[in-house]
Structures are given as structure tokens and as C-alpha cells.
């Protein structure tokens, strides 16, 4: 079982308490009605789906119930780090070369 660190509970918890909530850092337009169809499609449907490091939203569904962000490797499923919702994308990841 994966252990995921919840930044609100400040400890690692079993994955059964969590739920994935899609890609993180997708900014919603402040003028949705003015969006072109192409831009809306990009915002609404198109995801990066990388092989490797991905920034995701997760929710500690059966715990503190808070949303937070996590950095995960889609190949190894290793979680590099988690951080609170609203915090900027971390510039440096612990344990990642580069």
C-alpha cells in the first residue's frame, strides 16, 4: 500500500484514505464567457499526461477531507512531495536530479 503524506495531517497515511483529483495548477479563466472554443477545450479537456513527473491534486477524503497537491512519478508511482492547496509549484523537488 502506498503511504501518502497529507500536508494538513502532517504525517503519512495509507492510500485508502485518499482520492486522486486530477492534474494540478490548471488555472480557470477569469473571463470564461470570453474564452475561444479552442482555449476552452485546452482548459477543460486537454491534460499533460506525462510519462514521469506529474503535479496532481489529491484529496484526503477519509481523513481531514482537505484537497492538496502532490508531485508523483507516473512510472514508479513514487511520491516526491506534497504541499498545501494554493501554494505555488515547487521549484525544486526533493530526491530528483536536475
Amino acid at each position: 500500500m502506498l503511504l501518502i503524506r497529507c500536508p494538513y495531517c502532517e504525517e503519512e497515511r495509507p492510500e485508502l484514505e485518499f482520492r486522486n483529483a486530477g492534474e494540478a495548477h490548471i488555472a480557470r479563466s477569469t473571463n470564461m464567457a470570453g474564452e475561444s472554443d479552442d482555449d476552452f477545450e485546452k482548459f477543460f479537456f486537454i491534460r499533460s499526461n506525462p510519462k514521469g513527473v506529474i503535479y496532481e491534486r489529491w484529496r484526503h477524503m477519509h481523513g481531514c477531507a482537505r484537497f492538496f497537491n502532490a508531485v508523483r512519478d507516473t512510472v514508479t508511482d513514487k511520491f516526491f512531495m506534497t504541499y498545501k492547496a494554493g501554494e505555488p509549484k515547487p521549484a525544486k523537488l526533493p530526491g530528483v536530479a536536475k
Binding site: M1, Y8, C9, R13, E17, H62, G63, C64, A65, R66
Partner: protein, 194 residues
């Protein structure tokens, strides 16, 4: 004749309005574990920002814990930290925490959920092993000490778990899940004993 019939109906109606607790009085004993259904209690779900915590603590008579996975108990009333702005308050002394919160003018949301939950008491040296039959959290004393409380999962059902003593846990679940939780815990208790 008609009058008598009305009378019978009225008495039938009053008896059907009687409160019946889910699984009341049931218990299971296995080697090293005892599982009991706890008596009804007053409960509220409390949401409040940091600025209101002091006023609410004063009104409730118990200091709302602000550290994750902790609880505080005073005079039969327990406040369990569920999230950064969320608590479960359980009163076993028959007092109404909802009325206490109603006097507070600071911003908060208190919802009475006394009848929504059913509580079980799991006691004995194998209590942690029995709960671990369906709950993936580390329940060793170092990680989940006495007084620790957490919302978590037991099999397919969400529960709130409180360690009231080294070998005693309170398991709170939603009433409609209580049959499932009780059955799962009974099976886990006999497994833990084996």
C-alpha cells in the same frame, strides 16, 4: 366502537414513534477483544475558522484541539480534531453542545448529528489488531497514542476512531453503516483472537 378503534390507533402510533437505537445492547466477546455498542450520546459537527476557536472552546467548556490527530476531553465532553477547521464534539454527560454553541457570536457552523452516528467500544489487548482487520492506519501506541483521534476508513465504511485508553477504542460510524461496521469488527475480533 369507533372510539375504541381510534384509541387503539393512537396508542399504536405513540409506540411506533419510540426511539430505537441501532444495534442497541449488542456485544461480541472474543479472546482478548470485547466489542460493545455504546449508549446514545449528543454529537455535533463543528466547523470554525481559527479566530473563533477560543470563543467556542470557552462556550463548550473543552479546549478545541488544533493539532492533527488529537482530542481533548473534559467533564464527559470530547472534542476530536477532524480537519484544520473541523471538529466532532461528543457529549456523554447528557448536556447539549449545540445549545452551548448557539450562544457564541463568533463565526461558526454547528450541526447536530447525535442520531447520525452509532458508536462502538472495542476493548482488550487485541483491540488494535481487531480494528486493523479493516483499518489501514498504524495503531501502535507510539503513532496512535491514548487520546489520538482520526477520521479514517474501516473496510468500505468511513469511521472516526478515538483511542480512549491503551487498550480501548471508540469507533464512530454512520447509523446506516453500523450493521456493516459491527459485523466486520466482530469477524475481525475473532480473527484477532486467533
Amino acid at each position: 366502537m369507533a372510539k375504541a378503534a381510534t384509541k387503539t390507533n393512537a396508542s399504536a402510533m405513540s409506540s411506533s414513534a419510540e426511539r430505537r437505537s441501532a444495534l442497541a445492547g449488542r456485544s461480541v466477546s472474543a479472546t482478548g477483544v470485547r466489542l460493545e455498542v455504546m449508549p446514545p450520546a449528543e454529537r455535533i459537527s463543528l466547523r470554525a475558522p481559527e479566530a473563533s476557536v477560543a470563543a467556542l472552546s470557552k462556550a463548550l467548556g473543552v479546549t478545541l484541539p488544533t493539532k492533527p490527530k488529537t482530542s481533548a476531553t473534559k467533564a464527559g465532553r470530547t472534542a476530536l480534531w477532524l480537519g484544520p477547521d473541523e471538529w466532532l464534539v461528543i457529549d456523554e454527560a447528557g448536556k447539549d453542545p449545540l445549545a452551548d454553541c448557539a450562544k457564541v457570536t463568533a463565526l461558526h457552523s454547528a450541526v447536530g448529528i447525535s442520531h447520525r452516528n452509532v458508536a462502538f467500544c472495542v476493548t482488550g489487548p487485541a483491540a488494535a489488531a481487531a480494528i486493523n482487520g479493516g483499518c489501514p492506519q498504524d495503531l501502535s501506541l507510539e503513532v496512535f497514542p491514548v487520546g489520538a483521534a482520526s477520521r479514517t476508513i474501516l473496510g468500505k465504511s468511513e469511521i472516526v476512531l478515538l483511542r480512549s485508553a491503551a487498550d480501548a477504542f471508540r469507533v464512530e460510524c454512520w447509523r446506516s453503516f453500523s450493521d456493516y461496521v459491527f459485523t466486520l469488527l466482530s469477524e475481525a475480533a475473532s480473527d484477532a483472537a486467533a
